[in-house]
Symmetry: C3
Subunit: 273 residues, 3 copies
């Protein structure tokens, strides 16, 4: 199924509108091109509604949030939803500041995103309405492990039920749920956390998968999570003894560029709960 979703994405070349941070915007753009989509970054309030109307999907990422960009995110988000376009919310660093937490909560309420993609700390901050994120990585206590998998899966499911969104919590094990079904995904490498923006890239990728297959958002999100993790695995297998996180960054995007649908179909490792 995931192979078919990737084929569909490559056949449709959806235009993806990203309102995102300046740290990882370049990587998100190249990752979108690699997967078969086309990126457009635009965040000025004077154009975001028009731009998102041209696009097939919208990705909202608060990684370097500016107060003046929040109204642009809201306006674009509402317009995208009105047009039936999938909207992905990446609440980067929610819980790390009142501004980020309140912005993420406001976008949740005003936009009602199709997919929320974050790490455990960010999603817990959303669920609580507050939180104590340590930077932009998940706090140690928030790591998904085989031991707390049931509990985490229940949390993701409940958040999906409450928000009406598909929720993707990514970490050592990734959980994707729509309140009915939950996918536990085992693709990925811990070294991906040493490359800035792999989470942002995944959110952009999910936007592309959802835009190409808007009627099956849960499966599209799960496909994106598997694809990103699998590319991390493929890229890691290319690494030589002198290569570090910068080469890894390049190889992950390369792997997406070269990812064959059959490779995704066979390499995806998951179970349903």
């Amino acid at each position: 199924m995931f192979g078919t979703l990737l084929k569909t994405l490559r056949a449709q070349n959806p235009l993806i509108h990203c309102i995102t941070n300046y740290v990882t915007a370049n990587d998100c753009a190249n990752l979108l091109l690699a997967c078969g989509a086309r990126p457009i970054m635009a965040d000025d309030p004077g154009e975001v509604e028009e731009i998102t109307a041209l696009a097939a999907g919208l990705v909202l990422n608060i990684g370097t949030l500016h107060q003046q960009t929040l109204p642009a995110m809201e306006a674009a988000g509402r317009r995208a939803k009105a047009l039936g376009h999938p909207v992905v919310l990446d609440p980067v660093g929610a819980g790390a500041s009142a501004l980020r937490s309140s912005a993420a909560l406001r976008l949740l309420e005003q936009v009602r995103p199709t997919l929320i993609r974050g790490n455990a700390s960010e999603l817990k901050a959303l669920a609580r309405g507050s939180g104590s994120t340590q930077g932009v990585d998940a706090a140690a206590a928030d790591r998904v492990t085989p031991e707390n998998l049931d509990q985490m899966a229940a949390f993701v499911k409940a958040l999906a039920a409450r928000t009406g969104a598909v929720v993707a919590m990514t970490g050592a094990i990734d959980l994707v749920s729509d309140a009915e079904k939950t996918w536990c995904i085992y693709n990925g490498r811990p070294e991906m956390g040493r490359v800035t923006g792999t989470g942002c890239q995944l959110s952009a990728l999910a936007g592309a998968f959802l835009a190409a297959s808007p009627d099956t958002p849960l499966e599209a999100a799960a496909a994106a999570v598997c694809a990103m993790g699998l590319c991390g695995e493929i890229a890691h297998s290319r690494m030589g003894p002198l290569d570090g996180n910068a080469t890894y960054r390049t190889y992950i995007i390369d792997a997406m560029d070269r990812l064959a649908p059959d490779t995704l179909e066979q390499g995806a490792r998951y179970e349903m709960r």
Copy 2:
């Protein structure tokens, strides 16, 4: 001739002031360093006139346009022109929103750039005063092909005549015209479209070539177009079976860093119309 223009650029190390987008600014900076120029990015209205006065050329790129940056672009552009510095306008996404179209038109009128560099959809939007760009890539109907080459060349020539600028329309075939002469340039690879910002990089490169050879803007622009395309060819020939668009991005800039004047002279593929 192009080899000599590259030698001149490397001898002069011109400082190039870029008011550009945050998606591809890093690539533009590294490409400028690779070609022998020195980049400075600065967009605050409070400093752009001073900065551009220190520089030898100015590149205006509206890829992630903010309304508050437009006055900075106008002020810098007017100052650069008053000082006799070449100004390049890259109307990224013109036609995709009223904001971008009107900003590009305003810069055209207020600044009177030395060179306009865009794809067919963007330049048509400028010519019409409006348009329907699909994102930041040329729409399929706007592709330059051997079949519509004469028609496209006439369009570029007419736009150059009307604006007083050299116009470079880039695509499968590139056209560079100053209303008198038109160069048709055949360098480049289609895979360059899968790397974000190759157009932005070309605009920055053209700024460097024009700053180093301000008396021959048509030839300088054509040299930049050939050089960028040739680097795309050289980079592509290095690609291994696992390499994708991220490695290609790196290799294109590497190729510029290593490009010998003789290689450019001999590798440039063009004809005059």
Copy 3:
């Protein structure tokens, strides 16, 4: 000693808050991850105090300064200092515009940074309260050479005495002084100047070293300077005949990711004055 400082950094994984430019933010983030720190970029006045309170160190970089960001830098800087966190100031392009010079001077006065890291032209602009920087690179007349080393060392020492900060002047030879002792550091490669943002990366790295070892800021800054230069040497030794500045950029960060404490200990080349 430098090996121990690197071990301490890797053991502590300090969160480093960067208010920095959009040109090199991605490289700074990956370099911070490579050295063992964790980056968070945040520049909105509404959150910088909270963010910097979560972090262990703060890096202020004015590479693409916006007037509205300056109050955020001041507020974050004062808060970080009040919390006892080390603050690094990178006065990119000070002297190139009145805005940058006055911003750098204002940050110097309002924040009293723990470390100032710049090239000779930038630091001279700070010392004079004005200056004539050529872009963001040191002017030719400001190069540190064996001939003017004594004079430059005296300048750095005096600036450290006057500001109360450790001062790191980087160039062909790097000088790091706290008004008492001065380190002359010989690591590095001239080709590092052809990669955009190696100076910004060094400032971020210094922030990480200082955050992990706040009681020995002079040694921490010197360790960062040696480590960055050594990574430039290691990366250069990997370069093949087709590799240029873009591959070099990747390899420098890779080298930091792979840098063993013993390698730093043995590869650091310096003398005390």
